[in-house]
C-alpha cells in the first residue's frame, strides 16, 4: 500500500504551494531588488556627491536629533529647550551637546549608529534660565476614611537655547 505522501500527484506540488485566491498574494506588485554591484556603484556615487556638498559648505539650515536629559529632541539653530533638571553650568555659560544621533539638511541626512562622531558635528547651546517649575499639587484622598495628604512639588528647570549646529567633513 502507498502512503498519501508517496502518490505521484502529491509530489508534483512543492510544499509551499497555496492555490491562487484574492488573499493568497499581497495586493501590491512583487518587489524587484536591484543588482548588488550596480547598487554598490550607485551608493558610492551618492556618498561622493554628498561629501562634496558638505566639503563645499553647500547646505543651509541643519537640524539634529540630540539625546539630552534622558530625552531625545529634534533641534535646529535658535530654538529653546526646557529640561526638568539642574545642570552644573551657570546662566550664560556655553555648553556643547555631544550625544548627537542624527544630523540632516535639505539634501542629505547623516544617521549615527547610534551616535555620530564627535569630530563631525558640533552642537552649541547657552543656558538662559534656571528656575523652578510651577507648584504641582500632589494630593491623596480616600472618601469616607478621613484620609487626605497634600504635598506641593516644585522641580528645578533649565532653559537652553541652541545656538549653532556645525557640520565639518573630515
Amino acid at each position: 500500500t502507498l502512503f498519501r505522501s508517496q502518490h505521484s500527484q502529491a509530489t508534483s506540488v512543492h510544499p509551499g504551494y497555496v492555490p491562487k485566491t484574492s488573499l493568497s498574494e499581497p495586493p501590491w506588485s512583487p518587489v524587484k531588488l536591484p543588482d548588488a554591484r550596480e547598487e554598490a556603484i550607485h551608493h558610492a556615487e551618492v556618498v561622493q556627491r554628498i561629501n562634496n556638498l558638505i566639503a563645499n559648505g553647500q547646505f543651509g539650515r541643519l537640524f539634529a536629533v540630540i539625546h539630552f536629559a534622558s530625552r531625545q529632541w529634534k533641534v535646529t539653530n535658535e530654538d529653546l529647550i526646557l529640561s526638568h533638571a539642574d545642570i552644573d553650568a551657570k546662566c550664560g555659560d556655553k555648553i556643547r551637546l555631544e550625544k548627537v544621533l542624527l544630523v540632516g539638511g535639505d539634501d542629505f541626512t547623516l544617521i549615527g549608529k547610534p551616535l555620530l562622531d564627535r569630530d563631525h558635528v558640533r552642537v552649541e547651546a547657552t543656558v538662559i534660565e534656571k528656575t523652578e517649575s510651577c507648584p504641582k499639587i500632589h494630593m491623596r484622598f480616600w472618601k469616607r476614611h478621613r484620609y487626605q495628604r497634600k504635598r506641593i512639588i516644585v522641580h528645578p528647570q533649565t532653559l537652553l537655547r541652541i545656538n549653532t549646529i556645525d557640520r565639518k567633513s573630515t
Binding site: G60, R61, L62, F63, W73, T76, E78, D79, L80, I81, L82, S83, C91, G92, G104, G105, D106, T109, A125, T126, V127, I128, E129, K130, T131, E132, S133, C134, I137, L159, L160, R161, N163
Partner: protein, 147 residues
C-alpha cells in the same frame, strides 16, 4: 488646582536672550529690612557678609538697601520685562537669603505657571513637512475624464 484650572503659557524667552549675548534678566533688587527686629537678623547678616560679593559678581544688577521700620523684611526683584516679584525673607538665615537671591538672579521675569510644551522652534520643518502624498507615484493624482 489642576492644570486646566490654572493659567498656562508656551515656552518663550525674553527678547531672544541667548542668541547674541546672554543678558541677566534681573535689573533691580531692593532689600527692605529693619535695623533692630529679630526677624531681619538674616537680612542684616546677608548685608554684612554676602551682598558686596554678590553685587561684584553680577554687575548688571542694581542693589538697593532700605532700612525701614517693618515687621517682615522682604526682597523686591524687578525684571527687564517689567515683572515685579516680592519674596518674604522673614526669619531666614543669611545663607538661605544668598540662595534665594541667586535663584532670583537666574530667573527671567516670565510667569511661573504651567508651560505647555518643553520646546519652542521658529523653523519646525527643514526637509519639508510630511503629507500623505510624499513618496507616492504622481499617477495617483491623475484621473481619466470620460468625455
Amino acid at each position: 488646582m489642576t492644570s486646566r484650572g490654572t493659567p498656562s503659557r508656551f515656552l518663550q524667552s525674553v527678547l531672544r536672550n541667548g542668541l547674541g549675548r546672554y543678558v541677566c534678566q534681573l535689573k533691580r533688587l531692593t532689600l527692605v529690612f529693619s535695623k533692630e527686629a529679630r526677624s531681619s537678623h538674616g537680612a542684616r547678616e546677608f548685608i554684612e557678609e554676602n551682598i558686596v560679593d554678590f553685587a561684584k559678581q553680577n554687575p548688571s544688577i542694581v542693589m538697593y538697601v532700605a532700612p525701614q521700620k517693618c515687621s517682615h523684611p522682604k526682597l523686591i526683584a524687578e525684571y527687564l520685562n517689567g515683572a515685579v516679584k516680592e519674596e518674604q525673607i522673614n526669619r531666614k538665615t543669611g545663607e538661605e537669603i544668598v540662595q534665594l537671591v541667586q535663584k532670583l538672579a537666574n530667573q527671567s521675569g516670565l510667569d511661573i505657571i504651567r508651560i505647555r510644551k518643553l520646546y519652542h522652534t521658529d523653523s519646525p520643518s527643514i526637509q519639508g513637512q510630511w503629507h500623505p502624498f510624499i513618496n507616492k507615484p504622481t499617477s495617483l493624482n491623475v484621473k481619466d475624464r470620460k468625455s
